[in-house]
């Protein structure tokens, strides 16, 4: 069992989250079952008061969970120093069988929780609260994902054996293995770059055509293409090492913590783009979100592009 101030902080927060989210779950269940928007009964007025409180509890849990993901990544990176063989967070992920599913679940939950916050905001802006029942129904589902995430996180920290030697990121993200990951990392760079820049250009064109669903879909594909091209191609220029494909080392001081910037802008850009396909926003709000999405994705494209270009200008060759 591994315990340091960061892990202890996560444990304490998780206990509080479980407590408050469970209260919110019980109240949500009651609201979903008994809500009748047109009723003027004692029960309905009581539910209206409770719905405001419940939504506030959920909103603040999710507001804290979003930046807490960065703290979780920071924690992985920090505890890598005590694991023999680990050079960054990748080694910690490799140290527990629960870590990889946890990481994927955390990323999915990030988008889901941000979606709930957006839905709640839209609901609160309309006097008729059109999404009230829907947002609490969704929370009933998200609650289970939320609890599973907390269980996995606890199991992961409990199962890390600090005496066992783990693989470093160089071995995990190697292109020489016979794994799917190696296959993805070995994709031809020309194909990767065509997909990456092509996807971004398509997003820009579709935003002009105001096709919300298509724009949303392109943002979904951009998440995967951006991450794969970062690990397989752009990352090697950030490290200035053609064989290094780690998505975690980017978060270290040696690389100016550029990973936090890249993952942050990629999340905001793709989330704002994705969400317009799921909520029927008013025209001005839709356009605002499309603009925000494009600006953040453009910043991502600019930053990752700057690394190979500056390497080429400095050295006159590509890696």
């Amino acid at each position: 069992m591994l315990l340091n101030p960061e892990i202890l902080t996560l444990y304490i927060l998780n206990i509080l989250f479980v407590l408050f989210s469970s209260i919110a779950f019980i109240m949500s269940l009651k609201i979903v079952r008994k809500w009748d928007a047109n009723a003027t009964t004692k029960l309905q007025y009581s539910l209206e008061k409770q719905s405001y409180l419940t939504a506030t509890i959920i909103k603040y849990i999710f507001y804290i969970k979003l930046p807490l993901f960065l703290f979780f990544i920071f924690t992985l990176d920090k505890i890598s120093f005590v694991l023999p063989g680990a050079m960054c967070g990748a080694g910690v992920v490799n140290a527990s069988e629960y870590a990889t599913p946890l990481l994927f679940l955390k990323i999915i939950n990030l988008y889901l929780f941000a979606y709930w916050i957006t839905l709640d905001k839209e609901d609160m802006q309309d006097e008729s609260q059109p999404y009230l029942k829907q947002k609490f129904q969704l929370f009933l589902l998200f609650y289970f994902l939320f609890v599973v995430e907390i269980i996995l996180e606890t199991l992961m920290f409990l199962n890390i054996d600090i005496t066992s030697v783990v693989d470093c990121c160089g071995a995990i993200f190697s292109t020489n293995d016979d794994t799917y990951l190696s296959l993805v990392l070995s994709m031809p760079h020309s194909l990767l770059l065509t997909l990456f820049y092509g996807n971004f250009i398509l997003m820009y064109i579709v935003s002009k055509l105001t096709q919300a669903k298509l724009f949303s879909f392109l943002n979904l594909t951009f998440i995967f293409i951006a991450l794969i091209s970062l690990v397989a191609f752009f990352g090697t220029y950030i490290y200035e090492l053609p064989s290094h494909h780690c998505p975690f080392c980017l978060l270290q001081q040696d690389y100016s913590y550029v990973g936090y910037l890249l993952y942050g802008v990629l999340f905001v850009g793709t989330f704002e783009g994705l969400v317009i396909g799921f909520i029927p926003f008013k025209e001005d709000e839709l356009q605002k979100r499309e603009r925000v999405s494009l600006v953040f994705s453009f910043v991502y494209v600019l930053v990752v592009t700057a690394y190979p270009l500056s390497y080429f200008i400095k050295n006159g060759v590509w890696l």
Partner: protein, 218 residues
């Protein structure tokens, strides 16, 4: 304009403040709610203002279901439609007359010229121009009540609610207050006054007197 449908209001300690109340008030009416302390008058005012919600039943103002509004929408409704005059004036003693009157317009974000024009109109209407820079704590009770009325009226609300407005005033000042209510009626405001002051019960400009006893309309 204002409609109460089967409105019940219970408080936590099992007190029944209103018991299945039904009534309708027309636009521009001046209505006096008559009743002893604890009869439910203030509960009616706070329901009209959207300050509290009924336990059951419906409060409808201008076809809007006030009792169903979420708190942040109730705030907007109040800001745009309601002027409140309190028994103890509820002014800010360390601010001047001018600043107290302008207070409801702070969230509205009007231009300076518009603010000046509205302020000047209220100062003239309620005859307090010469006191506009005086701190409220240095005013007499009657003057403070005039400031309170000007403050309630400055955002041109459709409805003025007054809760025991003359309880702290002598007869002369109460008659002055009644004159001011008359002025507001001429501006087509709907005015609801909760009081047990007999001065209000036989006034020619009062359209209706509603008697309340133990949370019921008689």
């Amino acid at each position: 304009m204002i409609e109460f449908r089967d409105v019940e209001k219970h408080y936590d300690n099992n007190v029944i403040a209103l018991d299945k109340i039904n009534f309708t008030l027309k636009e521009g009416e001046v209505v006096v709610l008559k009743g002893v302390s604890g009869s439910g008058k203030s509960s009616i005012l706070s329901l009209i203002a959207g300050l509290s919600k009924p336990t059951s039943g419906e409060v409808i103002v201008d076809k809007k279901h006030i009792s169903k509004l979420a708190d942040h929408f109730a705030c907007t409704y109040r800001r745009e439609n309601i002027g409140f005059v309190f028994q103890k004036y509820n002014l800010i003693p360390t601010l001047s007359v001018k600043d107290n009157i302008l207070l409801p317009l702070v969230p509205v974000n009007l231009k300076r010229s518009e603010l000046e024009s509205r302020l000047s109109e209220q100062l003239t209407l309620f005859n307090i121009e010469e006191k506009k820079d005086t701190l409220v704590k240095n005013l007499s009770g009657g003057e403070q009540q005039r400031v309170a009325i000007a403050r309630a009226n400055i955002n041109a609300p459709k409805i003025i609610l007054a809760d025991e407005p003359t309880a702290n005033l002598d007869e002369k000042l109460s008659l002055e207050f009644i004159e001011m209510i008359k002025k507001m009626k001429s501006q087509k405001r709907t005015i609801v006054i909760a009081t047990h002051d007999p001065l209000f019960f036989n006034l020619d400009f009062v359209d209706r007197v509603l008697n309340i006893e133990n949370g019921k309309l008689l």
